[in-house]
Assembly symmetry: C2
Homo-oligomer: 390 residues x 2
């Protein structure tokens, strides 16, 4: 991260933000899920920044990835060491300009960051759901977000934006509520998981399930499956980086010593990095939520759900103006998958811009400082806005 970027991050910010909650689907009016099960009540944790204009036409909905949350920009408290997860992009004058737009970000259902998930109290038993929590889909997550948007009195969203699993939600929004969104930005995402992506998720899930502390998901009153979740996160981290970025970042450099340990300590910096990432993750994330959200993304398949197997047919119901962005070194959701999607969008007559950004940082690229990405977002939003905001 360059000095310029750090300065940029610290000096220009949306400032203080607040974690808000909206609860709906109170029993007996529970939310119907795609699995056929019902869920209620449902709480969404969310955050807003910027100001909603009088005709409510400047709302941007940001959708987070697997381990993200509603805290997208700014600070909860002055003392916070770090701002929200996409502060480099969201703020006054930034790629998503909070001087112009009203930015909403909500935590998905199934997560553990304030929204209803497997760690929430099941009103029927008064203990945490665990595996009694129904398997939710990307469609269910978006359906819940729509409840929030209606609650905020917004009829039409200027743009839905998200990367990775957030990008899946963007695609789902464009098909489930085509009348409600004007434009959509899908970053580093895919219309369906490849066998390779499913494989990585499955191994990560098995790492959690293999942890005896997991106890079939009933661990909320005892020790947590930290070791399993840590391994799961380590697997994830490998897929978020790239061969090139790992070579540049770590290479074969040793950790704090000149020679091999000749034991099973972390000899290489990359080993230490992964162990650290795993350890840090268990402090903030719930293992069951990891299972549920990865499963939702594995199930996601818009061609199957909306197009009888055809991506073009699926997109024929969409109306939004699209920007699709992939990254050269992203091998989890490689550019060919974005290209297939863009082809299908064009075949359906959609207005779509596509850009493959050069980056060595793999799948994580969309989360990292990039003047190119910020400019791209700003340009696209400006273009959409000039046609709608007066």
């Amino acid at each position: 991260m360059s000095e310029y970027t750090e300065h940029h991050m610290n000096e220009i910010s949306v400032g203080m933000v607040e974690k808000k909650f909206y609860t709906f689907a109170e029993p007996p009016c529970e939310m119907n899920l795609e699995s056929g099960h019902k869920l209620g009540p449902v709480t969404l944790a969310y955050e807003t920044s910027g100001t909603l204009n009088p005709d409510k036409s400047n709302a941007i909905l940001i959708l987070h990835a697997l381990s993200g949350d509603s805290h997208v920009a700014g600070y909860y408290q002055k003392e916070d060491p770090k701002p929200g997860w996409w502060d480099i992009v969201v703020g006054p004058g930034k790629g998503i300009d909070t001087d112009r737009y009203y930015v909403i970000c909500s935590n998905v259902i199934g997560s553990c960051m304030g929204s209803t998930g497997p760690g929430s109290i099941n009103p029927k038993t008064n203990i945490p759901y665990g595996l009694d929590f129904p398997v939710v889909t990307i469609g269910d997550m978006v359906k819940a977000q729509n409840e929030l948007i209606e609650h905020l009195g917004i009829n039409k969203i200027l743009c839905v934006i998200g990367g990775s699993i957030g990008g899946m939600q963007v695609l789902e929004w464009s098909l489930r509520y085509p009348e409600k969104i004007l434009s959509a930005i899908a970053l580093a995402t895919t219309p369906r998981h490849s066998a390779l992506s499913i494989a990585f998720h499955e191994v990560a899930r098995q790492a959690i399930i293999a942890d005896p502390n997991w106890k079939n998901g009933k661990y909320y009153t005892g020790p947590k499956p930290d070791l399993g979740l840590s391994v799961a996160r380590m697997i994830g981290h490998i897929t978020y980086l790239s061969d090139e970025s790992m070579r540049n970042k770590f290479g074969r450099r040793l950790q704090d010593k000149k020679d091999f340990s000749f034991n099973f300590d972390a000899d290489f910096q990359v080993e230490n990095y992964l162990r650290y990432q795993g350890k840090k993750f268990v402090e903030r994330f719930d293992a069951n939520s990891f299972l549920y959200i990865t499963k939702a993304s594995d199930y996601f398949d818009i061609a199957a759900q909306y197009g009888s197997g055809s991506l073009a047919e699926a997109f024929s119901r969409a109306k939004a103006k699209f920007l699709v962005v992939s990254f050269t070194s992203d091998w989890l959701y490689p550019t060919y998958q974005s290209r297939d999607m863009v082809k299908a969008m064009k075949k359906s007559g959609l207005d779509v811009s596509f850009c493959e950004l050069a980056s060595e940082w793999g799948h994580d690229s969309f989360l990292l400082p990039s003047e190119n990405l910020s400019t791209l977002l700003k340009g696209f939003l400006g273009c959409v806005t000039s046609k709608t905001l007066h």
Copy 2:
């Protein structure tokens, strides 16, 4: 696998082979290891096929990969459902022709397939070594193989051949005993692990270490860390395949049903495949051996060990005629790593042939039936032989 190949495999075989053992380094004359530790006695399990000619000039040494063993071709018993692991390549008239060559394959030290490893009895304690087994290197493995070769009375090996970690042993042989080998074939391998390869190994190791049955390696009298080892193997399997091969082999096909389970069962065929591979592996492999052999391969770095960081300088001590083969879809040891190695070999004036074979099967390609690979091996060996065998 084509019908032709199946027929080929079943009909043309070296026939019955025998698992043999050679023990050396009896205390107090223990083997000195690169770590500075000593190990003894050391037993190597090995197998031979074909006939050693009178001047002992037709010996080929085959070196196996991570989970391999000495059983490279033919059958132990008539009832065996499957022949040795490289039977498609080793046999009468095959790529490595046992009518012409005397083929030796030995199990590496550190393994659990008959050679001395962490599961062997420690003569000092009369219980299995566990983590008291010293961390061995690729160099140590090769040093032990050299003892076997000397025991067999062979002064010069016609060719050392191996893929993956077996390929590392090939490179090590060419530098450690340059006078003892005439030629070398290194398949799907690398002169040193990238950060990405180390990362995958480290996560796999952590999956084992996280299993409470692992008990710091002391599990030989109780339940084994099967769940951890299974996850480790699943991680490995992903890296042995490729995006393309997984797409073709599994795609998003569901397992034995038409709809999603909406629970954490294996919905997709790829999930079932990985679980099956994990389960099958724990029946035949030892978790500690997995730790030791992966660590040895992570440590392997011929540029650092033999060339003060320069690959070309390292190869300047080699004398063998080389064949280097990489596979287009191998993303664990991608072609660029083979190319770097070949460049360094050429810079050192070595006689090297390089071939990148087109294959969709990823790193595992060298183990799969391929007329191209068989022809390549046969051609190279024929060329080497014409100059030496009379």
